[in-house]
C-alpha cells in the first residue's frame, strides 16, 4: 500500500500528471492520495472578500491562521473543488476514485489547538487563540481499507473533525503520515516542488530515521517537517518514506529510479 501526499504547489502546477502517476501505481498496489491546496484556498478567500491571515511561529514558519470565516472557505475548497477535481481527473485516466475528507466516517479525529505561539508584527512572541487548526489524535483506518478493498483510489482532503463536532484544518503532511502509520503502509511519499532533501545544494539520497532526526536542526522550514514526519512514520512501522519532486511527468516513477530522499528504518 502506498500513501501519497501531494503538496498544494505540485497539485496546482501538475495535477493531471500526478493523478495519472497515481492511477498507474494503483494497477499494482492500493493507493491513498492526500492533497494540499493552501494557495487555492487563499485565492478563493480573496475572491470572497476575506483577506487571509498568516502567522509566524517562533521557529520562523509562516502558516495560515484559520478563523471561522476562513474555515468555511477552506472546507469548500479542500473538500469540494480540489478533492473532486482530483477524483474527476482519476476518472479521466481510467480509474475509479472516491474523494473524502478526514471528517467523513471519523477518518481523522483531531483536537482543536486552543492556543498557539506566534511572533507578532512587533517581533515579539505572543500566545493567541489557535483558531480552527487541529492535531490528529485518531485515524479510522478500517474506512480506508474498506474503500481500497473495492478497488478504489482514495483521495483525502486535509480536514479533520473534533469530538465536539468542529471541522478543523489539519496539515496535509501530518494527515498523510498518520494515515500511513494507521494503515501500515509499505511506503509514504511526499510529492513536493523540490527534488528532496538538499544539504549544501546536494540531494541526500537515503538516510536512516535516526540520521534524519539528527539532521532536523539544520534543515529549512517546510522540509524539516516532512523529514520529521518521515522519520516518525518509519519508526512507527511504515516500510519507507520518500520525498521527491511532484512537478515531473510521472512523479511516482522517481521512487523506482531513486531520485529523491528515502528515509528508512
Amino acid at each position: 500500500m502506498l500513501v501519497v501526499k501531494a503538496g498544494g504547489r505540485a497539485i496546482t502546477a501538475n495535477a493531471s500528471n500526478i493523478v495519472r502517476s497515481v492511477v498507474r501505481a494503483s494497477s499494482s498496489k492500493q493507493v491513498v492520495l492526500v492533497h494540499g491546496g493552501g494557495d487555492v484556498v487563499t485565492e478563493y478567500c480573496r475572491a470572497l472578500g476575506i483577506e487571509p491571515k498568516f502567522v509566524v511561529s517562533p521557529q520562523g514558519i509562516r502558516s495560515r491562521y484559520t478563523d471561522e470565516k476562513e474555515l468555511e472557505v477552506y472546507v469548500m475548497v479542500m473538500a469540494g473543488k480540489i478533492n473532486k477535481s482530483l477524483v474527476a481527473e482519476a476518472t479521466k485516466h481510467g480509474a475509479r476514485a472516491v474523494g473524502i475528507s478526514g471528517a467523513d466516517g471519523g477518518l481523522l479525529l483531531a483536537e482543536r489547538k486552543k492556543r498557539i505561539v506566534v511572533v507578532d508584527e512587533r517581533g515579539r512572541k505572543r500566545v493567541i487563540d489557535g483558531g480552527y487548526t487541529g492535531q490528529i489524535k485518531a485515524v479510522n483506518a478500517d474506512l480506508i481499507r474498506s474503500l481500497l478493498s473495492q478497488g478504489l483510489i482514495v483521495v483525502v482532503a486535509p480536514i479533520a473533525v473534533s469530538e465536539e463536532g468542529e471541522l478543523l484544518n489539519v496539515d496535509g503532511d501530518q494527515a498523510a503520515a498518520y494515515l500511513a502509520r494507521a494503515l501500515g503502509a509499505e511506503e509514504l511519499v511526499f510529492l513536493t516542488d523540490v527534488d528532496g532533501l538538499l544539504i549544501d545544494g546536494k540531494l541526500v539520497g537515503r538516510l536512516s530515521a535516526d540520521e534524519a532526526v539528527r539532521l532536523l536542526p539544520s534543515i529549512g522550514p517546510g522540509m524539516n517537517r516532512k523529514v520529521m514526519l518521515a522519520a516518525e512514520s518509519v519508526k512507527a512501522g511504515v516500510g519507507r518514506a520518500f520525498i521527491c519532486n511532484g512537478l515531473g511527468e510521472d512523479p511516482l516513477s522517481l521512487i523506482e529510479s531513486g531520485i529523491g530522499t528515502a528515509v528508512v528504518p
Binding site: 517562533p58 514558519i61 502558516s63
Partner: protein, 57 residues
C-alpha cells in the same frame, strides 16, 4: 517599563509598557517562560503553557 514579579522565583521581570496580553517573557533569574496578562488592569505574569507547533495547511 514595569517590573512584574515572577510567579516562580519572585524576581522582578521587566515588562515593556506596550506589552499585550499573551506576550511571552523569560525570567532572567530562574529562566521560567512566562505569559503576560492583566488582572483588574494590573500587569501580571503566569507560567506559560507549553504550546507545540503543529498547525494546519
Amino acid at each position: 517599563m514595569a517590573s512584574v514579579s515572577c510567579p516562580v522565583c519572585e524576581a522582578g521581570v521587566e515588562v515593556p509598557d506596550d506589552a499585550l496580553e499573551g506576550e511571552l517573557f523569560e525570567c532572567s533569574s530562574c529562566g521560567a517562560h512566562l505569559e503576560f496578562y492583566l488582572e483588574a488592569g494590573k500587569p501580571r505574569l503566569k507560567l506559560a503553557e507549553e504550546v507545540s507547533e503543529d498547525w494546519g495547511e
